[in-house]
Symmetry: C2
């Protein structure tokens, strides 16, 4: 492959299958499909979506919106509480593309109403129980924001958007369906009052597992394009559907501890981990690279520790002799969004 | 300041004081001072070292060596197990600068002896108890590597290098002095056999706290230039000596939970945290920015949760009304090496 340092391997075929499946989910639910591009942050991966007919996207920063606008995307929702300090960039972008902003603050909406120079759509973020950002459905501030939009030509109220982050710590489908039912109950109150609004939903676990998303008008999952070990543990995907692996050079082997040291640390994989009760921590599964593909995880082989540039792989004794410095091992990431953010050099497997 | 997105604020004065102090520590110990530049990865910060007479540096990857060589640094140790897949880049670099490599593998040393085209120094990594990489002092492989160097013109054995990572989880000076004493006992065995070798030591906690580092020939601390909340908790520094803060825009305020949402998440601060027993997690202290400086941490204000782009600050009720969207809050990072790696845009306070 000609790889000499930590590199994100992207399996084009798996990416395509993951996208196809989610397009089908959205179609069956009667939803607009507006995938979140924060996971891959890659024009190249964006092109795979485009070839499949996707035209509307979600990002989580103004910078990301600019990056994808450069590549011809022209209908973009920035699903992050609008940062008014970037008003100049927002105004520049809004001249070029159809831009939707998001907020949970009347202060911000008021600022936008006074400072936007081109039209933007506005989503109001609703908190359905994750308690990160968003307004509760019965807060008077919602009406206040919508009124601000009514009196302003450059700010058009679009609808309500939520991200149910609880699903990332859910244990399987039942818990996710319960979260979803709760969220829909909350949204129903809003729908009674604002029947014309767009109801936008998006998280990979529920979009992968739920049986019925037809309440919503729009789906914005992002992680599904790559999936990862965390999604596998939640039950959102099989390990075979994980479409990225970090290719990491072997730099040292410790036979007395059955450990392999790789060039691949916190600045490549991120420090995201899965912890079991017995203080076991998992920073990724180790796979072999063979014939321009990767294998299933090597039984019992996983990244157990990370420092800035080093990763330590626990490797079963029987496998240890198969590796020497200069080999490359693949690591299935715990959280592909963070690993992809760190590994800017991509290598596509065909 | 004109800052509109997450930015690394660097207090030039504090950086200079931190460097001065460590130069003094090295001089008092009679050691070569070869600071590790992996923490800042910044040519601009490198120039502050250079002005103070520093000429020899440590880095942790070939890419970093290339980056600093571009800026005129010409005596560089790559203190990371040599990655033989980068042999071409190593050969190119070694033509231009005095380059020292490191390994704990006779396989790698053999490869280097056959494939280097310019002279490189070689350090052997010794494991003094951290169990990450490195050879035990009594391993026959040490002699094997040194012999390989003796028979080769392009590979010159320089000495022994260690990184006692145990000190990053140490609780204060006593534990660190104990670790140091253990490490010196181990190194004494080697010194008996190889009295001419360079004994190279480096970690910020011990270089900041130990009374006597005179056993060693070279010191390679890195983190001290910035320090961080983790080092403060170990006891290596005061909070006032922390010389970087992540400037993060306020994007949302939740009065019912006493929380502020900032644009500043895992992709800006890293997911490094300090956990207390009661499942309290700390991702950074919040400080106010005033008069081109930052204040001490706001009492009771800290980053309690992070997602990709969001940070959640717990803010005492009495302080909450002082903030609105569009303000900027500073975050003292848990691990400045990782935060600096992520925040490429720097802003120097004078």
């Amino acid at each position: 492959m000609g790889i000499s340092k930590p590199t994100l391997l992207i399996d084009r075929e798996k990416v395509a299958l993951n996208i196809d499946k989610m397009i089908k989910t959205a179609a069956e639910a009667g939803c607009i499909f507006r995938p979140h591009f924060k996971t891959h942050q890659s024009k190249e991966v964006g092109k795979i979506f485009r070839k499949k007919g996707v035209k509307q996207i979600t990002v989580s920063s103004v910078s990301m919106a600019e990056y994808f606008a450069e590549d011809g995307w022209n209908d973009i929702t920035i699903a992050f509480p609008c940062n008014i300090l970037e008003i100049d960039s927002i105004n520049n972008l809004a001249k070029e593309v159809e831009l939707q902003l998001m907020t949970d603050s009347a202060f911000t909406a008021d600022f936008l109403s006074k400072n936007l120079t081109s039209n933007c759509g506005l989503f109001i973020k609703i908190d359905v129980g994750y308690n990160r950002s968003g307004l509760k459905y019965n807060t008077p501030e919602i009406d206040e924001i919508i009124k601000l939009c009514e009196y302003n030509n450059n700010l058009t109220f679009k609808g309500f958007l939520t991200h149910d982050g609880r699903n990332y710590s859910a244990k399987g489908k039942v818990e996710i369906e319960n979260n979803l039912a709760e969220a829909i109950e909350i949204f129903k109150h809003l729908k009674q009052k604002y029947p014309e609004a767009i109801y936008s939903w998006g998280d990979t676990p529920s979009c992968s597992l739920s049986d019925d998303l037809s309440f919503f008008d729009e789906l914005r999952p992002g992680n599904f394009v790559y999936y990862d070990v965390m999604q596998y543990h939640i039950g959102s995907c099989t390990l075979d559907e994980v479409s990225v692996a970090a290719a990491c050079p072997v730099v040292s082997i410790n036979k007395s501890r059955n450990e392999i040291v790789i060039y691949g640390g916190a600045v490549h994989l991120s420090k995201e981990f899965i912890a079991a009760d017995n203080s076991f921590t998992l920073f990724g599964y180790a796979v072999k690279l063979e014939n321009n593909k990767w294998t299933n995880p090597i039984n019992g082989a996983y990244v157990s520790r990370l420092s800035q540039e080093h990763g330590i792989i626990n490797m079963p004794e029987a496998e240890l002799d198969n590796f020497k410095p200069g080999n490359i091992i693949g690591i299935l990431p715990i959280h592909s969004c963070l690993t992809a953010d760190l590994l800017k050099n991509e290598y596509f497997l065909i």
